[in-house]
């Protein structure tokens, strides 16, 4: 079953922060986050494993609450280059099958 992402779309001014959420109805083993710009391939951002991980690099970080079967992606001090569609992918076991959410379209403006 497909994870649910929220919000579906968000518009930010440069420098503002955003949070994108990913929820699953199933117990999760891992969550992946990807960003895709129009006409391009998805780019891997980070993977979080069960255990309540939190990860980050630069101004993009994420958390994983396995009890709530949720993950959140945090974008701070957004830049124009952050624009794109963000997808979470969830896995219920160590096997490699990911199910992707429907995506969150993020637009950063001047």
């Amino acid at each position: 079953q497909q994870p649910v992402q929220s919000p579906q779309a968000v518009i930010l001014r440069e420098g503002e922060d955003a949070v994108i959420n990913c929820s699953s109805s199933k117990a999760l083993y891992s969550v992946h986050w990807y960003r895709q710009k129009h006409g391009e391939a998805p780019i891997f951002l980070m993977i979080l494993l069960k255990g309540g991980e939190q990860k980050g690099h630069d101004k993009i970080s994420a958390s994983f609450n396995e009890k709530k079967q949720q993950s959140s992606l945090y974008l701070t001090a957004s830049q124009l280059s952050y624009s794109g569609t963000y997808f979470c992918g969830t896995a219920t076991g160590t096997a490699s099958k990911l199910t992707f959410g429907t995506g969150t379209r993020l637009q950063v403006t001047l």
């Binding site: 990807y34 891997f44 490699s96 099958k97 990911l98 992707f100």
Partner: protein, 113 residues
């Protein structure tokens, strides 16, 4: 700079024709995935391989689609016969299971007339 390479980048064909898409995964990655992306369905997993063995192709219409990995440097996705509803962007991705995420190729945009 290691990357997943896909060919062709664009393909326009007529209904009923055979289409073959090829993928060269990143050297050393032991998993390879084929995804299809459309506006309506989003990113769908069609098939995946671990150490060249097919593990799951439940997302693939078996009557017309087939996926193979003849060696560690080549994965193929074949559609025969193609139909207009197959029009989509097909992505190949590879990864090192349990270690990395998916690294996607640039995709093959297929249009079936």
């Amino acid at each position: 700079d290691a990357r997943v390479t896909q060919t062709p980048r664009h393909k326009v064909t007529e209904m009923g024709q055979e289409v073959t898409m090829r993928c060269q995964p990143i050297l050393g990655h032991n998993t390879v995935f084929w995804y299809r992306q459309t506006m309506m369905q989003g990113l769908e997993l069609l098939a995946y391989f671990r150490n060249r063995a097919p593990l799951d192709d439940s997302g693939m219409p078996k009557d017309r689609f087939s996926a193979e990995m003849p060696d560690a440097t080549l994965a193929t996705l074949k559609i025969q016969p193609s139909e207009p509803r197959d029009s989509a962007v097909y992505f190949c991705a590879s990864g090192l299971e349990g270690v990395t995420g998916r690294f996607f190729g640039e995709g093959s945009r297929l249009t079936v007339l």
